[in-house]
Symmetry: C2
Subunit: 178 residues, 2 copies
């Protein structure tokens, strides 16, 4: 097993994500995990909310705006006139390479207290645990320029911001548990 070498090599590489940097909200959690000898993080997102259009397939989907922070009153604005615009909120997601299956199971057991949907993504040459928050929203927000939500947008903003804040609190609780 060359787990320590793989870990060193991987963590020395630059960030390849769409965002291009590590989300602040999970930096402490990632540091805590990467300080444990049997684990290292390979990718992460602290949670995000975005507007998108397209078919939903990766190559046929366009993100119109995205926030990894609390959203403001103008987040729901859109100039898109010719498509269905969807609002999506995704919970925290984190991929952790583990030294062996025992290390993966131990991490899973701790993670499930906060992240019930966590699982083992790969258990062949590499062992990767996925830690996944359960928070999710997916709703059509505009159709050909017409707003489809008739409630109070400030209330919708609050609902989303409360979910985001809960994610960050859970990440901190999880960090303290490991």
């Amino acid at each position: 097993m060359n787990f320590p070498n793989n870990k060193k090599t991987f963590l020395a590489k630059s960030d390849k994500s769409k965002k291009g940097s590590i989300d602040e909200k999970v930096v402490s959690l990632l540091e805590t995990i990467n300080n444990l000898p049997d684990y290292y993080s390979t990718s992460s997102c602290s949670g995000r909310v975005y507007l998108w259009k397209g078919t939903g397939k990766k190559s046929e989907t366009q993100w119109l705006k995205v926030s990894h922070d609390l959203i403001g009153n103008d987040f729901f604005d859109s100039d898109e006139k010719n498509a269905v615009v969807w609002l999506r909120l995704e919970g925290m997601i984190m991929h952790i390479a583990c030294k062996d299956l025992g290390a993966a199971n131990a991490l899973l057991e701790k993670a499930r207290k906060f992240y019930k949907k966590s699982c083992i993504l790969t258990a062949s040459s590499k062992i990767i645990v996925e830690i996944r928050g359960s928070e999710f929203m997916e709703m059509p927000l505009y159709k050909e320029g017409k707003l489809l939500f008739s409630g109070d947008l400030l209330w919708l903003k609050e609902v989303i911001n409360q979910k985001l804040e809960k994610m960050w609190k859970d990440a901190e609780k999880f960090r303290k548990s490991i």
Copy 2:
């Protein structure tokens, strides 16, 4: 290893799901899987759409109505006047016990062509693969009796029914691939 015995015992037990019976749409897929010596299904749902209220925690959540079939025009009706009513759509989900890690990896490889979010749920005394569809919706539909969707409800019904039909087609494609 007593995998064949565990399989026989498990499959002889009665259905303990909330629905109380196996979804028709996945019966052929389950039969195909259970006919393979290295696998047996422990639970499944072919996909569903429901209205719910509460906090989202299992013990504090009440389902107001649920459909495992295409929905009709009256599905969005609700008499609830004092809470936020959410509309949720969930994709197919299936838990498959596997003889060993090799069998789990082989199943995962085939499943990921149709179900990217599939993973290994447990890899300790039992090895369970979760096959999980990516379709999902979660949107607030009523707040204190007021409808929050201002678009055409027939269009929303069609969006949901198309997602349900896609799930059942994918289940049949997956069945043919194994």
